[in-house]
């Protein structure tokens, strides 16, 4: 989905805690973390486990399958990039491994989206350096 115009939407500000997550996405792989000490799974990526404050974490690759937890068809957003693209679908997807993430649904008309709908990840290379995990109907 290469853009012909310059990409104007907000880009992630990759930091030392999140680098592994974004680097995996660039390889078209979706990961979340699990605490090696207490086993708590977590999304989004961060250095310490909020449950036990352990620094020992492992990366767990997600299957990319999930369901729509909730969504909204956005008809108005002043942010450059989104302003020209309304309506689009903002959603929270629950991965089959449990964690939920904020994302966009693509390849599906807004009025066809339902809570509980099965979806699967698509990797959108929005710039040379950044890949966003979006979802389409499974």
């Amino acid at each position: 989905m290469a853009e012909t115009r310059p990409y104007r939407k907000p880009l992630p500000r990759v930091d030392e805690e999140s680098r592994g997550y974004w680097e995996a996405l660039a390889r078209h792989e979706l990961y979340f973390q699990r605490c090696r000490d207490c086993g708590t799974a977590r999304f989004y990526a961060r250095a310490l486990c909020p449950a036990c404050l352990s620094s020992a974490a492992e990366w767990v690759r997600a299957s990319g399958r999930g369901t729509v937890y909730t969504f909204s068809v956005i008809h108005q957003n002043q942010t450059p990039g989104f302003r020209e693209e309304v309506p689009y679908v903002l959603a929270m997807v629950e991965l089959e491994e449990g964690p939920r993430l904020v994302t966009n649904l693509v390849g599906c008309a807004g009025d066809a989206v339902r809570v509980g709908m099965p979806v699967t990840v698509v990797f959108d290379d929005v710039t040379a350096a950044t890949t966003l995990p979006k979802f389409r109907p499974a």
Binding site: K9, P10, L11, P12, R13, V14, D15, E17, S18, F32, T40, A41, R42, F43, Y44, R46, P50, A51, Y69, T70, F71, S72, V73, I74, H75, Q76, N77, Q78, T79, G81, F82, E85, Y88, L90, A91, M92, G98, P99, R100, L101, V102, T103, N104, G110, V115, G116, V126, T130, L132, K134
Partner: protein, 383 residues
């Protein structure tokens, strides 16, 4: 040592402006301070505690400069629109602890004349969690809309039920000469207004206005000698919700924690409350908050808000000034919830008066339901 019942709101003033391109936000703060201090029968020289928010990271210092204040105690807790409700609770604790004697809380904003489209401005990448959200185009209204969508899915709540809340607020606004919108609306008007972020329509959203207000608080002991009937703070609590490690139930909002705690601290039950001032950024905010506070069971909010129950003359009047949905919303509305509760408890509301109101519950929501937000509940009485 308990703080409850020892501090009272003795001055309350809402700036009448809804559009003030000829004024600065600091001027609205200052005029509001003047109004609230005059209401209390105190002067700016009596103020030794200062509380504000919405003015930038160290904006409290600039505002002290602007007002030439040299307070002994300050607090610029910034947790969104609920901040000013927090300030009242913090002032109650500070006054009870002897940190200050007369607390001034001020708010001012020119959001409308700056043409700031608050709910649809989109979000930027600032702090670590933002990088996982902002690239997907969330808006404030979109975040609340996802809560509404989830509520509809779990409980069958309808857009018509949400619309009834907007209709009720507009009915109240008709009695408020300063309200931004006063013409009656119907459920159909709400449902046929354009969709901003499904399932929320334009008329499910609060207005954007300029405005401000101020509050003055002191000990209940000192309050006895002042101009107006004091309104004691009988209980209060704060809570925070967010998406945690990615498993959070979006309908478990902060009010579920702060509401029961505030009621317990005040030693009262839901049945004792005569009226509520509930932050109404969107219609769903009112429905979800009343449920979470425990006025009805989870899933019953739609039915609870219907049939006039939350209107004047109903069992639990809510936002008798017309709320953010019709009266005013300059970006952080919490202070107006407190001001309207004070007016009700003083018996000052004439046509919009809740008969013999003795106890009011105020609940401010700050930030975004569906994402990171605060909830602050405060119980006010009649002195």
């Amino acid at each position: 040592m308990t703080v409850w019942g020892k501090t009272a709101i003795v001055g309350a003033w809402e700036h009448p402006t809804r559009f003030a391109p000829h004024m600065t936000a600091f001027q609205i703060h200052a005029e509001s301070a003047r109004g609230a201090l005059a209401d209390a029968g105190l002067t700016v020289r009596d103020v030794d505690g200062f509380f504000t928010s919405g003015v930038g990271p160290i904006g409290l210092l600039s505002l002290c400069h602007h007002l030439d204040l040299r307070p002994d105690h300050v607090d610029s807790t910034s947790i969104g629109g609920s901040s000013f409700v927090s300030h009242c609770i913090h002032a109650a604790a500070a006054i009870a602890a002897g940190l200050c004697k007369v607390a001034l809380v001020t708010y001012g904003s020119t959001a409308a004349s700056e043409r700031f489209a608050i709910g649809t401005a989109g979000t930027l990448v600032g702090e670590p969690p933002d990088q996982f959200e902002a690239p997907f185009g969330p808006t404030i209204v979109g975040s609340y809309a996802m809560v509404a969508q989830r509520h509809m899915h779990e409980y069958g709540t309808t857009s018509a039920q949400l619309a009834e809340i907007a209709v009720t607020m507009r009915r109240h606004a008709a009695l408020n000469p300063h309200a931004k919108y006063r013409e009656p609306i119907t459920v159909d008007d709400v449902l046929t207004s354009r969709v901003i972020a499904s399932p929320l329509h334009l008329l499910d959203c609060c207005v954007i206005s300029d405005g401000g207000g101020a509050l003055v608080l002191t000990s209940t002991e000192r309050a006895r000698d002042l101009a107006k009937c004091p309104v004691p703070i009988l209980g209060g609590a704060e809570a925070v919700r967010h998406l945690g490690v990615g498993r959070h139930d979006l309908l478990d909002i902060a009010a579920r924690q702060s509401g029961p705690l505030a009621l317990a601290r005040a030693g009262i039950r839901h049945d004792d409350i005569d009226c509520c001032m509930i932050y109404d950024s969107y219609t769903i905010t009112v429905l979800a908050t009343l449920e979470a506070l425990g006025f009805c069971k989870p899933g019953e909010g739609g039915a609870f808000c219907a049939g006039g129950r939350i209107g004047l003359g109903g069992a639990l009047p809510v936002n008798t000034d017309g709320g953010g949905l019709s009266s005013n919303h300059p970006g952080m509305r919490g202070i107006f919830l407190v001001i309207e509760a004070v007016r009700q408890l003083r018996g000052d509301r004439e046509q919009a008066q809740v008969p013999d109101a003795k106890l009011a519950l105020v609940h401010g929501t700050g930030g975004m339901l569906g994402q990171r937000h605060s909830g602050v509940t405060m119980i006010l009485g009649r002195g």
